[in-house]
């Protein structure tokens, strides 16, 4: 047993591939509600320019710190008066919170999806080879143990601070702490699949290692990895928001939920809306993803669902 036990990844979860597993997803309320909520938020991010005609970065000194519901009026090029309602108020630079929240969905989703793809692909590659080639295993797993012993937030903060804040750095910094968890999961699956008679048979007739991994081992990792990727997406969105909130994440002018909240921190006691609106959207998004993940796990991976 290693020094740092993992919570999700303990049992090698080998999925029974019954026909209709994907169909059963449609009957799981957790999957349905989660997917629907997630789709709505994704739609909000994609349609951001349609939902608000204002530039999310537009600073308006005369509209600073307005409470939700405040009406702003300005004149357009032909001198007509346009009245807009800031339904979520404005921040201390006069930027419209509603617009920034809508655009913030984009950043959160991009970070969440990119991180889960990145860490799953990297973790899958490392885990497959570490599990299959025994000589690699010891070294790789010790490094993974070491990485897992550093709390994710600290590791991410340190990585971002060293390489400078940008969207790309944040994505990499958030993905790295997730990789060991994927590696452990994949390795556990590989170790149990290796013992299956059909894999032994394939090896004994001289099938090259890469082909064994590709044809026999890889398909068994798909269902657990989909589940894991969903949870990673959720925690990546949370972590990105935390980094931005602490001021060590994506540059502050970019509209992200964490940045909106970071901006609202100093005036929270007077204008709580700066924190509460983006906070609500962040919570809702992560909740949707976690519900989707829970449902996927129960449906695709029954053995894993018993563990936690």
């Amino acid at each position: 047993m290693s020094a740092v036990p993992s919570m999700i990844v303990e049992a090698p979860a080998v999925t029974a591939r019954k026909p209709g597993a994907w169909l059963r997803l449609l009957h799981n309320p957790s999957v349905l509600i989660g997917a629907l909520l997630f789709a709505l938020i994704a739609l909000m991010g994609i349609a951001a320019p349609l939902l608000s005609s204002i530039d999310p970065g537009a600073i308006n000194p005369s509209n600073r710190n307005k409470t939700p519901g405040y009406e702003t009026s300005e004149r357009d090029d032909e001198g007509r008066k346009i009245t807009r309602k800031a339904i979520m108020g404005t921040d201390s630079l006069g930027r419209d919170i509603y617009t920034r929240v809508v655009y913030g969905a984009r950043v959160s989703l991009i970070v969440g999806i990119t991180v889960s793809v990145l860490s799953v692909v990297a973790g899958l590659a490392i885990g497959l080879f570490a599990g299959y080639f025994r000589w690699l295993d010891g070294v790789v797993m010790r490094v993974m143990d070491g990485l897992m012993a550093i709390p994710a937030i600290l590791l991410a903060i340190a990585l971002v601070s060293l390489s400078g804040a940008s969207m790309m750095t944040v994505i990499v910094a958030v993905a790295i702490p997730e990789i060991p968890r994927v590696v452990r999961l994949v390795r556990a699956i590989v170790l149990s699949i290796r013992e299956e008679p059909y894999v032994e048979a394939a090896i004994s007739v001289g099938t090259p290692a890469v082909k064994v991994l590709w044809r026999h081992v890889l398909p068994n990792t798909i269902a657990p990895l989909i589940v894991q990727a969903t949870f990673i997406c959720g925690s990546a969105i949370l972590l990105e928001a935390i980094l931005s909130f602490l001021g060590v994440g994506i540059p502050p002018e970019t509209p992200t939920w964490g940045n909106i909240m970071a901006e609202g921190r100093s005036l929270f006691q007077v204008y709580p809306h700066n924190i509460l609106y983006p906070g609500a959207f962040l919570t809702l998004t992560v909740l949707a993803i976690n519900m989707l993940g829970d449902g996927l796990r129960d449906t695709l991976d029954p053995r894993m669902s018993k563990r936690l």
Binding site: M1, S2, A3, V4, P5, S6, M7, R142, V143, D145, G146, L147, A149, I150, P151, A152, I153, L154, L155, I157, A158, L159, S161, L162, S163, G234, L238, A241, I242, F245, L246, G247, V248, M261, F268, Q269, P272, I275, L276, G279, A280, L282, T283, V286, L287, I289, N290, M291, D294, K306, R307, L308
Partner: protein, 313 residues
């Protein structure tokens, strides 16, 4: 048994070493010259050379590592660039609030989560079970800082029951110390409760199917006694294990909670040091947190024999 304890401690050493190497390399592997990064944009090349010599950056990397870790083991992590104090004294100043916050959080979370999880398992499938599981999904999803601000908004700003932010040292009175620590601890406890309640439910559920639980019931023991002395006692190992794993979540939460509540602890220090690019402090704090995490989990591993006499080494 002593043999086992010895082997277990020895097995932890490589992990600690790897953590130390990773934390050390983080600074060394940055693109560009670490001395230039530390010196900042306005530095002259002379400043950079000075810092490089001071940090021993002109020596081979392996030598640098052993110098750093050797001094670190003696409690010397060098001098903070930003605070102009030794890193060790900086950490000593900041450790009390963090320890207090973490301890209170663990106590609070255990007191809430274990009864909830047990109850959920006992009434599996009932509305209680659903509510507990629902709370735990929400607990995982609400970011710590959102919980913190909502609690401040409701209990400090609207109701005025608690101070908004700040910390009072234990030496200045226990009442004020506890009063200021309650909201931050509740904030931090949410994720922990979610994690623990789930694990308690799962492991109590497993135990409830055992023969000895049926026997205990059959001989007419009251339900509460069966739950506490038969079910919970035997479910203790996985529950305690999750408390240990949760330390990682807790440390992450400490960083955020201390920023939200303006508590001058190690978490705040980490963020402030990162923002000030104070690398000796960053390295030392991350190393300290990671070592604490590994050592606590080692201690929990060693506690298994006490918790469950069936486990013998």
């Amino acid at each position: 048994m002593w043999n086992y304890i010895g082997r277990r401690i020895l097995a932890t050493l490589p992990v600690l070493l790897i953590v130390a190497v990773l934390v050390f390399l983080m600074l060394r592997l940055t693109p560009g010259d670490p001395a230039a990064v530390i010196a900042g944009d306005a530095a002259t090349s002379q400043d950079v050379a000075e810092i490089r010599a001071k940090l021993g950056l002109d020596r081979p990397v392996v030598t640098q590592f052993f110098i750093w870790i050797g001094r670190g083991l003696q409690g010397d992590f060098g001098e903070s660039f930003f605070y102009k104090k030794t890193v060790a004294s900086l950490i000593a100043d900041r450790i009390e609030p963090t320890l207090a916050l973490a301890t209170l959080t663990i106590i609070l979370a255990t007191l809430i989560a274990v009864p909830l999880g047990t109850l959920a398992a006992y009434r599996q499938g009932s509305w209680i079970d659903r509510i507990v599981m629902g709370i735990s999904v929400i607990g995982f999803s609400v970011p710590v800082f959102v919980i913190g601000y909502v609690l401040i908004y409701v209990f400090a700003l609207q109701l005025g029951w608690f101070p908004v932010q700040g910390y009072q040292r234990l030496a200045d009175g226990f009442g004020g110390f506890l009063h200021r620590l309650i909201l931050p601890s509740i904030t931090l406890a949410m994720v922990y409760v979610a994690l623990l309640a789930r694990m308690t439910r799962t492991s109590v559920l497993e135990v409830l199917n055992e023969d000895y639980v049926r026997t205990a019931r059959a001989k007419g023991l009251p339900n509460l006694k069966v739950l506490v002395f038969h079910a919970l006692r035997n479910a203790a190992v996985p529950i305690v294990t999750v408390i240990g794993i949760g330390i990682a979540v807790l440390i992450g939460g400490v960083v955020v909670t201390e920023s939200v509540y303006n508590i001058p602890g190690l978490g705040r220090l980490t963020v402030d040091a990162v923002l000030a690019r104070d690398y000796p402090t960053v390295q030392a704090v991350i190393l300290l947190f990671s070592f604490a995490y590994v050592v606590i989990n080692l201690a929990i591993d060693l506690m298994y024999t006490v918790l469950d006499p069936r486990i013998r080494y």
